[in-house]
Amino acid sequence: MASTEIARQAGEGARAVPLAGHVGFDSMPDQLVNKSVNHGFCFNILCVGETGLGKSTLMDTLFNTKFEGEPTQHNQPGVTLKSNTYELQESNVRLKLTVVNTVGFGDQINKEDSYKSIVEFIDAQFEAYLQEELKIKRTLHSYHDTRIHACLYFIAPTGHSLKSLDLVTMKKLDSKVNIIPIVAKSDAISKSELAKFKIKITSELVSNGVQIYQFPTDDESVAEINSTMNSHLPFAVVGSTEEVKIGNKMVKARQYPWGTVQVENENHCDFVKLREMLIRVNMEDLREQTHTRHYELYRRCKLEEMGFKDTDPDSKPFSLQETYEAKRNEFMGELQKKEEEMRQMFVQRVKEKEAELKEAEKELHEKFDRLKKLHQDEKKKLEEKKKSLDDELNTFKQKKMAAELLLTQAQQAGGSTTLKRDKERKNFF
């Protein structure tokens, strides 16, 4: 049994003791796997290579499916990265597969900055994870990991040597991502040329110090196959989603007038090897390397860049902790300032509104007063008129009464008045 980390730790004060019967913790790996299956897996592949090298076709072939998307034009002004996420399922395994393509790579006249957008993209995924990891309230458990687990570098099948663009790009990427170089459209090269090409590529990579991904050889069960495969790198692949009838089977192939290149025939190309290595044997290791090596390196560099240090164990000032505090105090200060500003503004607005309301109130009062006065004036006029009318009425009444009185008096002294008048009349005559 290969010595495990736990066994090593056994030396650190933990004795090994025998079990007197079946306990049942041998189901631990199953428990863990079940949880992972329930949770789902994610795998992110980055395809780097010039336009027209068959990147999309290869992805389609690898995953036995037709991913969306049309072939890109050759006139992109710069390199952009386009990523697509797909949910695949096989038996009870759910895989969230993200395929990132470099659009426009190698199309420009000046390719000096081509690698930059790729590096930025990879870093951005690391950064996103780092940010999540540094949050106070974080949900790493359900975080959708977008970090690139494998980078397939497509080499054009020139048969000569690596282009300088390839060398430069791979050199920039080798410390950030697991690079698996492949010779694309390898049906363009003859077998003997291919062998020479592979040797040339490998030696150029070595002499330029490019670290490509090595399939792990520490686990006995896969050590043999992995080390064999390591010697076949870079894989010479052919991709095709079209099927051709060979014998009595339908196989994925490319049909030429002089023969048919079968994708899954190991004599024709290394497609099967690539699939075996990438998916069926080392997918988990690719994920682990990304997390424990590339991500840790990014994290360390980023934090050191920001001025953190792991000082000696004694005076562990918990520097990250202190910066949390400092940053947080700063943030709180900002927040308080903003709050204060908002409050001031609010108070101001309230004051203004109050003044407005007061104005309106004053106006209303004035209007009211005016109207009241008008009303009073009117009332007064009316009263006066009424009074004068009353007076008239009174006068009239008085006159009427006087007249009636005179009339009754006259009627009493009735005839006397008339007599008197008659006498006066007689006297007159």
């Binding site: 079990l19 913790f25 299956v37 991913f67 096989e90 009870n92 949390y324």
Partner: protein
Amino acid sequence: IGNPVVGCGGSTLLGYIGIDTIIEQMRKKTMKTGFEFNIMVVGHSGLGKSTLVNTLFKSQVSRKSAGWARDEKIPKTVEIKSVSHVIEEGGVKMKLTVVDTPGFGDQINNDNCWEPISKYINEQFEKFLKEEVNITRKKRIPDTRVHCCIYFISPTGHTLRQLDMEFMKRLSHSVNIIPVIAKADTMTIEERQEFKQRVRKELEMSGIEFYPQKEFDDDMEDKSDNDKIRETMPFAVVGSDKEYQVNNKRVLGRKTAWGIVEVENPNHCEFAQLRDFLIRSHLQDLKEVTHNIHYETYRAKRLNDNGGLHPISTNGTHDSNL
């Protein structure tokens, strides 16, 4: 093996790819690295804590067997003593650490006797946090955090004691507590059922949640499985490291004048249920709840408290400090 299934995103699978091999890859990886598990036992002395742990893991893993004399004096304050062993089964290696808490509940005045325990639990969180915050981190941070705390309830048959309630109330938010009724062979089956019901009711009324906590059920299936377990808890257990012959079989048991109490006989006590629950089905979940919930709670509090300022908001978006 491969069922062609339509995936989302407009892709249709037309044959076997080999994605499901990741299960095997993952299993191999975990077998290689091995596991750690840390279990704490709390209860006053004489309740059979060490015996139970030894019975659970079918080996001498608790402190009592590591050269500790049975008539050692009960300490005046609660002490925390941990001992680690490596056990292997079916190719799976596990580093098991048993944390004992002698002195708990044994004094006349047991005020705050949970504090050393709480302090120990938080210290393990702190250790892990310090490692996690390093610039250069270890490939695998050693995990000493307490994944599970078995709390031993005295088989009085009446109700929970105040100390039981206090302890569980205070610690249920920083560690997974699994309450068990110790020395259950002093109660009849009916007495046990009644006692259990009363205990569950008391805990529910005080808002104390033992493991498995309702709020962490993943999905409906989980919930229904866990509901069944919650209805049976606290498990009434009997522990023993002695074997006797019963019906031509060697069984673990306790011999009394009136018969042999078989530990692994589900008609006699619920030990087997506890073992299956703790080890065979929920071992990984105990670790995950500890890591994803209890540890995260500690970490968030720790990173916030240091300024004495209150957390800004309950969602995470404003809390990033870098």
